[in-house]
C-alpha cells in the first residue's frame, strides 16, 4: 500500500511554535473547558430548596449537581447538616462527606 497513515506527524513535525504561543493555547483550551452553570430562576431555587428540606426531613438520598473549581461535579448522599447562616450544607455517603456552598449548587434531584 502506498498511502501511509502517519497520524499528524506531517504537521506536528513541520510547524514552528513559540513556547509562549503554546502556553497561551493550552490556557485557552483549559478556559474553554470551564463549566458555566445555568442561571436559575426563582422557581428553580424554590424547587432546590424544597428537595433539600425534604431530603433532610425524610432522610432520603439526593443527587446534588454543583460547581467546583470551574468544573461540574455531582455528589449523591444524605443531607447531614444545613447551615442557613453560612449558606452551606453537608452531605454524606458512607465514609465520604462533602460540604457544598449554596451558591455552587445548580441542580438537585432524587437519584
Amino acid at each position: 500500500m502506498s498511502t501511509l497513515d502517519r497520524k499528524n506527524k506531517l504537521w506536528e513535525g513541520s510547524r514552528m511554535f513559540l513556547p509562549e504561543h503554546r502556553k497561551n493555547l493550552l490556557e485557552h483550551y483549559q478556559e474553554a473547558q470551564t463549566f458555566t452553570p445555568p442561571i436559575l430562576s426563582d422557581e428553580a431555587w424554590q424547587e432546590i430548596n424544597r428537595l433539600i428540606i425534604e431530603g433532610l426531613h425524610d432522610e432520603s438520598p439526593l443527587l446534588i449537581y454543583y460547581v467546583k473549581q470551574k468544573s461540574a461535579q455531582q455528589f449523591c448522599g444524605f443531607i447531614e447538616k444545613v447551615n442557613p447562616y453560612e449558606h452551606w450544607l453537608k452531605v454524606t455517603n458512607g465514609q465520604t462527606t462533602c460540604t457544598i456552598h449554596f451558591k455552587n449548587i445548580y441542580r438537585v434531584e432524587y437519584p
Binding site: S2, N8, W11, F17, L18, H21, H28
Partner: protein
Amino acid sequence: MDSVIFLVDIQSFYASIEKAQNPSLQYRPVVVSGDPKRRSGIILAACPIAKSYGIKNADTLWEAEQKCPQLVVIRPRMQLYLDISIQLTKILERFSDQVEPYSIDEQFIDVGGSEKLFGPPLVIAQKIQQAIWEEHHLYARIGIGPNKVLAKMACDHFAKKNKQGIFWLTTANFQEHLWPLPIENMFGVGRRMSRNLRQMGIRTIGGLAHFPIELLKKRFGINGNVLWMTANGIDLSPVSTHSFDHQKAIGHHMTLPRDYRTAEEIRVILLELCEEVCRRARTHHLLGKTLHVSCRGADFEIPTGFHRQITLADFTNQTMVLFKQAWQLFLRYWNEQAIRSLGIQLSKLIPDNLIQFSLFENENKQIKIGYVMDDIKKRFGDTAILRAISLTSAGQAIERSQKIGGHYK
C-alpha cells in the same frame, strides 16, 4: 463524501496588525523589523504596499530602506501578535470545534458538519473572512481542500494570488491546477530536496506524482513515500485539537547578536540555553534523556555547523548536569571557528515523579535548587536571579528576558 478542510492564513500578519491598530498607517508602506543593531534586524513582515517596492521578508532593514526611503519601520510587539492569534482561534471555533493552529498566522479548520449551520464551504469561508475583518481588520486568505495538504497548497499558491482570497482544490481539480507547478512549490520540498528531485528529472509536481513510488522510497525512505502522497493530493492527517497536549521535546535556539569566537564566550550561551530548557522542563514537571546540540558557523559563504545528539545516563532536568554533557558534546564536534547560532534540545521526556536517585551523590539538594530558582523567577521576574556568568559581556539572559522568540514583547 470528501472532508472539507480550510487553511486560514492572515496576510502580512504582524504588519497588518500594526496597520489595524494605527489607521494613519493605512496607505503607507509599513514593515515590522527587529533591532537593526542586531542580527534580528531583518524584515519580519512587510505590508502589501511595502512589498510593491520589492521589499521581501528576511531582507535586512538597510536593504528595505534603500528600496523604499519613506518606509515606516515598526518594532515588533510579539505579545500582541500572540494575543491576536489566540483571538483568531476563538473566531474560528465559532464555525467548528475542529481548529488546529499551525503557526502564529495559519490555522486549519475542519468545517465538515458545519454546513447546515453556516452554509456551503465557500459561504463559510466568506463568513470567516468577514468575521476576521470586522473584528480585527485583518485580511484572511483561505485555502480549501479535502485534506490538510491540499488546503495548504490551495492557500499558498492560489488563494493568496486571487482577488477573493479563497480557492478550493478538490480531488477532481487538483491535477489540473497543481500538477503543472514547479516542484519547488510543493509542500515539504525545500531547496535541497528540489535539487535532488531535479537531478532525477522531476521538474513539476505532476512529474513527481507519476514517478514510480518504489524508486522514491528506495532513495528517500519514508519521506519519499510522503512526497509522492503529497504530489497525488493524499494526506490522512486529522485536524487535531489535541496536538499540543503532549510535549515531545523542549528546545531553545539563539541567533547570536554577533559572531562568538572563543570557547569561553560560547560556554556562557550554552549554559544560558541549558538553564532555559531545564526551567521549562521543570515547569512542566518533565525529565529528559536525549540531548541535542546544534550550531551554525558564522561564515555564510562556507556553511558549517552540526546537529548532534546523545543519550544521557539518567533522565534529568538539572541545568548543570545537562550543561556538562552539552559542553562535552559541543567541544567534540566544534571546528573552533566562529559561530552565529546555537541550540539545545531535550527529548525523550517522562514525568518528573519517576526520578532514579543516585546512591553516591546528594542530588536531592541540586534538584531542589533548580525548582527554588524557578519559583523566584516566577514571582519576581526572569532576571531576579541570574548566574554570575550571565553578567559577562557574552551573556544574553537579560536581553532575552525582554523578548519573545528573539523579538521584543
